[in-house]
Amino acid sequence: MVTSATSLGRSGLHDWIIQRVTAVVLAAYVIYLTGFLFSADAIEYNVWRSLFGQVWFKIFSLLAIASICFHAWIGMWIVSTDYIKPTGLRMVFQVFVILFCLACLIWGAQILWSV
């Protein structure tokens, strides 16, 4: 269908399941980070830097950033299909959102692997 050409999963069910899987990844990441912040005596540079120095946390962080991108892609797609009626304008908006999400993903990877 033409109407779903800019959606991530190109089907409602596919988007639905991606939205939930990414949500669970993000909730786990936020819960872990909250636990880390409250269990540390003080968040100083060395503590913060060593957290992001571990490979498993880089991977977890990149998974979280990727989840944000896909979650936002789907969420913004749904919202824009509801409120932006002119097709051309909606397409431009959705393409902008997709490029924005992918740019954030690339930037996030660069940040994480420069540590």
Partner: protein
């Protein structure tokens, strides 16, 4: 089921021509003072609004993360974070994130069949808003 719900209950924003096809002579109430969103709509539209604003805050968060991973940048982020406006922005982002997560957990519960009745839906929506306000208050205490 959730998708259907999301799409239908914001019908007030739709072009009236779409609706008029059904019945041209039906009574119309456009008095904004008497139109009231049910609590379920309020919790849903807040989920959307916080989602869009969180989306817009991604570059800000990535920028802060990038800066915080160098010794000088970490000190800079810390000093910037002590400013009143930046504290407010951080509080707003974290509060919206907390609300968005709580409302999302409710979605997952409803996917599992919990709270799908009309009464359950109202209770869930009300609980999400109350928990959102409580977490915003706690985050405020933590930040200030």
């Amino acid at each position: 089921m959730n998708l259907l719900k999301i799409r239908n209950h914001h019908f007030l924003f739709h072009n009236r021509e779409d609706i008029d096809i059904v019945n041209k002579n039906r009574p119309v109430n456009l008095n904004l003072a008497t139109i009231k969103f049910p609590v379920t709509s309020i919790s849903s539209i807040l989920h959307r609004i916080t989602g869009v604003l969180l989306f817009l805050s991604i570059p800000l968060c990535l920028w802060a993360l990038q800066l915080s991973l160098t010794p000088a940048g970490f000190a800079e982020v810390k000093s910037v974070m002590s400013g009143g406006i930046v504290k407010f922005i951080s509080w707003a982002i974290l509060s919206m994130l907390a609300y968005h997560i709580i409302a999302g957990l409710r979605h997952l519960m409803m996917d599992a069949g919990i709270g799908e009745t009309l009464e359950g839906g109202r209770f869930g929506a009300y609980s999400v808003i109350v928990l959102g306000v409580v977490s915003a208050a706690l985050l405020g205490v933590w930040i200030w």
